[in-house]
């Protein structure tokens, strides 16, 4: 039930990381994927990030009813929760929906329309040509998206805090500057690289082994999103447990 697909997934990854036929063609594909995954997802990541920060600020302020706790704590909480958890994990889950379903349906369609067979017949390592650029494109761009997400979340938190009167601008900035542990940023980047790998490799696996027609392509796409989301949350816990 679990070991057979996992074994196939490992064997697929082995084929993915085989030496490319021509690096310059792969390089072009990697840049194309970086554009598709990175630039193509910038809009949605920006929007959700601003609201994530805003909601975190408002809800933290709502729970801080004690006069003994300084309001500047809100800035610190928004910063740490954004860097450590919200930006990498929520962004990854959103990207699993957007990028993962696209990867699975794209590769799945190529499978059912015999385009992958055509690559194989030409003597091309199809897992390498189709999947490696997607994995590398995601691993290079998703951490950048997470950095942008962190910045916009904090900005969103600041704007919401000031606009609602929950915290003053000065208190929020003081909170941001107090007790920052740079290692949290390292954890965030490690998470985003692992999540990028999970999203693309799991989705590509689902697409690559699609059998049938349009219905099965849709099912593969759905499975890719569901399994990626579960794998992201498991990996999130494991990384947190190991690094913090």
């Amino acid at each position: 039930m679990f070991f057979h697909p996992f074994g196939k997934y490992i064997l697929l990854l082995k084929a993915v990381f085989r030496k490319p036929e021509k690096w310059n063609i792969y390089r072009k594909e990697i840049f194309r994927e970086m554009d598709s995954i990175g630039v193509g997802s910038l809009g949605i990541i920006s929007i959700i990030s601003v609201f994530l920060g805003a909601v975190t600020t408002v809800q933290t302020a709502f729970q801080l009813v004690s006069d003994l706790v300084p309001k500047s704590v809100i800035g610190g909480i928004v910063r740490d929760s954004t860097i450590l958890e919200l930006s990498p994990t929520i962004s990854a889950i959103v990207l699993a929906g957007k990028v993962g379903s696209s990867v699975a349906s794209q590769i799945g369609t190529m499978r059912v329309t015999e385009q992958i067979d055509a690559l194989e017949i030409m003597g091309i390592n199809s897992p390498g040509y189709l999947i490696l650029p997607k994995i590398l494109g995601a691993v290079f761009t998703i951490p950048l998206l997470v950095i942008i997400s962190i910045s916009l979340s904090i900005l969103g938190g600041y704007l919401a805090g000031v606009a609602s009167g929950a915290v003053t601008a000065q208190d929020f900035i003081n909170g941001l500057n107090t007790g920052f542990i740079p290692f949290t940023f390292t954890v965030s980047m490690v998470k985003s690289i692992i999540f990028a790998f999970i999203i693309t490799s799991v989705s590509a696996y689902q697409g690559f082994y699609t059998n049938g027609g349009a219905l099965e392509v849709g099912q593969s796409s759905t499975k890719a999103v569901v399994i990626s989301c579960i794998a992201i949350l498991c990996a999130d816990y494991i990384v947190a447990q190991l690094l913090l």
């Binding site: 021509k22 015999e114 055509a118 194989e120 017949i121 030409m122 003597g123 091309i124």
Partner: protein, 250 residues
Amino acid sequence: MIEIKNINKTFGENHVLRGISAEFNEGMCNLIIGGSGSGKTTLLKCMVGLHEPETGSVSYDGRDFTRLNFEARIDVRKEIGMLFQSSALFDSMTVEENIMFPLNMFTDQNRKEKLERVNFCLDRVNLEGKNKLFPSELSGGMKKRVGIARAISMQPKYLFVDEPNSGLDPKTSIVIDELIKEITEEYTITTVVVTHDMNSVMGIGDNIIFLANGQKEWQGSNKEIAHTDNKELNDFVFASKFMQAAKDKL
């Protein structure tokens, strides 16, 4: 020449190919015919390595493909061209990029040389000037012709064609058949065509292998097929009243 020996292939409980042996000759259109589910496409896929047969061998001019390692298989595959039933053109690429793709991957030619080859292949399939169209802008017959152009771009020694006439009108089918025949003879390619189209059988079948229930039932040429006493083959070839009438006139 391609030689297959004792090919067996099963999918679960379903024994699709049962000990098939045959030879496919150079410079000829070798046809694999048979009813739906007889194992034609499975045999073709076993020959090109898209399926692994349980037993048997597939030899390309003496090289046993089934026993080659990954790298050696790639060397053989560079000598193979294939036209798929669905044409299998890459949707995201133009006609020109589709044909140029194997050249980009496996040759060190500059862009001008590759473009010359692309234009030559397009001319050969009577699609000159269609370089910048996308597959979605092509008719079924045009897609097949682009598929043939892509298959011959690397000057293959072996050409595999899966159901070249499916979804085409009779006139376009004949054009595709004639093109396959011309290319086979012109470049002395070993061509293997899977079909159940009787026009193709009669038109280009230099060497015909008839499969039924996963077994080779009969082998011969299109000239011999009308006079065979093999009942299964007669039932298949002369199933329609038109073909029966044609046979009676022979």
